[in-house]
């Protein structure tokens, strides 16, 4: 502590190192987005990209209509399954969860949160495909629903914790449908971006265990194909995915702002 110049120098050095690391942290995002936009935009603007099914190799044109519909189907069905159940479990945790059952539920949800997405793919495969003996979109939806469940229930729980006791009792007394109350309370607050990050992942996490024509799978397959036009389509589909995630995020932010006002 006796050499002020050295100490000041070290302080500045650490500040500079931190600033450097911060820039390094921001660079990948910017470069990545730049490339996705530049390489994906021409394909995205090609007529037929949104409205045509894929054409056989050699036939020019073709779009990703199947993949878009597949994605909407999978995400829609998964949300229908996961949101009400997850919200109800969240309600349970915050209203009746101060006991051993509540702790067990929290532990299971934490374990599920940490599991790799491919484990959910295996789950969907075993539960749906092996029991019904054919592949279907349902298996992807079931897998995604279980993947979403922990995020929804913890978001619901922490949102409900913030609700004043009096309001909670008033809500119960009014007999409002619990999932509607929760969904309307869940979205504002810190949890919303989290929830939508998860949604972003749902749009995406379709792994090759799921044979649906989802957008993510299109990106994966076309990227690895040797044909230039398919690779271009992969970039365009990637841009579409990023735009979907970004708009979900922006919608969430706008909604939060409206609620908070």
């Amino acid at each position: 502590m006796s050499r002020p110049l050295v100490r000041i120098f070290l302080d500045r050095l650490v500040a500079a190192l931190i600033a450097l690391c911060v820039m390094v942290a921001a660079i990948p995002v910017l470069v990545l987005l730049l490339f996705v936009v530049i390489k994906g935009l021409p394909g995205l603007l090609t007529p037929g990209f949104f409205t045509d099914p894929p054409h056989p190799q050699g036939v020019p044109g073709g779009g990703v209509l199947n993949a878009i519909i597949g994605t909407l189907e999978i995400v829609g069905m998964a949300s229908l399954l996961a949101v009400p159940i997850g919200a109800l479990i969240g309600v349970f945790l915050s209203e009746y969860g101060r006991n051993r059952l509540g702790d067990t539920v929290r532990f299971i949800s934490d374990v599920l949160t940490g599991l790799p997405s491919i484990a959910f793919g295996i789950f969907g495969y075993t539960v749906v495909v092996l029991t019904t003996h054919h592949f279907s979109a349902i298996s992807a939806s079931v897998a995604l629903a279980v993947l979403m469940l922990p995020v929804i229930l913890r978001a619901t729980e922490s949102a409900l914790m913030l609700v004043p006791q009096a309001l909670r009792e008033a809500g119960l007394a009014l007999g409002a449908p619990s999932w509607r109350v929760t969904v309307e309370i869940v979205v504002p607050g810190e949890t919303a971006p989290l929830l939508f990050t998860a949604f972003g992942n749902e749009i995406v996490q379709s792994n090759p265990l799921q044979p649906m024509g989802a957008l993510a799978l299109t990106v994966f397959r076309n990227a690895l194909s040797p044909y230039q036009n398919l690779q271009d389509q992969a970039w365009a589909a990637a841009l579409l995915l990023v735009l979907l995630v970004a708009s979900a995020n922006i919608l969430a932010r706008l909604y939060v702002r409206r609620i908070q006002r």
Partner: protein, 327 residues
Amino acid sequence: MGKGTAERVAPAPLVATSRQRRLISGDDVFRAVAFAAAALILVIAAIFVVALIVPALPAIARFGLGFFIGRTWDPVRTQFGALSAIYGTAVTSVIGLLIAFPIGLAAALFLAEESGVRLLRGPLSFAIELLAGIPSVVIGLFAFFILTPLMRDDVDPFLNHTLGFLPLFQGSPSGYGYLTAGLVLAIMVLPIMTALSRDVIRAVPRALREASLALGATNAETIWSVILPYARVGITGAALLSLGRALGETIAVTMVIGNRNEISASLFASGYTLPSVIANEFTEAVGNVYLGSLFYLGLVLVLITIAVNVLARLLVWRFTGSEPMAT
């Protein structure tokens, strides 16, 4: 007047009790539904365990625990072992964490500190959040077309030239392999590492930080001798949670790891990771033992991930006193 009020108030309890009766019965239904939902997740967990173990049984019966140390992966002779995939998973995850840890920690210090450049904080938070939201397959696409040529032509030859005396950086670079996959994982776990460490650093009592500054310590000295020691356990937890995420990352890694069942000292060499074997070979696997071996790999992956995550959560929980949410 007092009498009148009393008379007007008097019927009120009666109304309240009749409402209360209805409320109690409604509450009971609600309570039952909530409990049923909670029970449902226990059922799902049980099914999950069964769903992971049952399809792996043919391989478990055939190879037993020897699966963990088996190096062959030969569909023709139906001889399978997980060692090279376990090795690849460990190597790529460790590379990813080694890169993401210092950068994420620095970004977290920047985001959590009250002093410093305020102007940059918003954009940085936004960039990190954006990165967290970018689909895995999009990062894979970027890595496949942009990162691999860069690694093959510039980064790998440079490392080979300067650090080539180490076995790690020997051999001819193809652009695909452990190092590229590790770099991709670093990009992918950076948001988690940053967000969790930021929360941990924010949980350091303000009084401690201010006391250090008041004693005349510089910002750097405060970080080094007050904040980091105090937050050490929590930061370790954050790193472990990031590691847990890196272990299971599938698509992006599959696109750049090279997909070869080998164990090589060189980081330029192609390899395999647990999830990428499953993703890559699942559609072409035939026969109970081959398919079962893929599910066995899945089981190994899940067990490793759970162990890492439980340890991480215990650490973070012990530190902040609350469960980490941002995962």
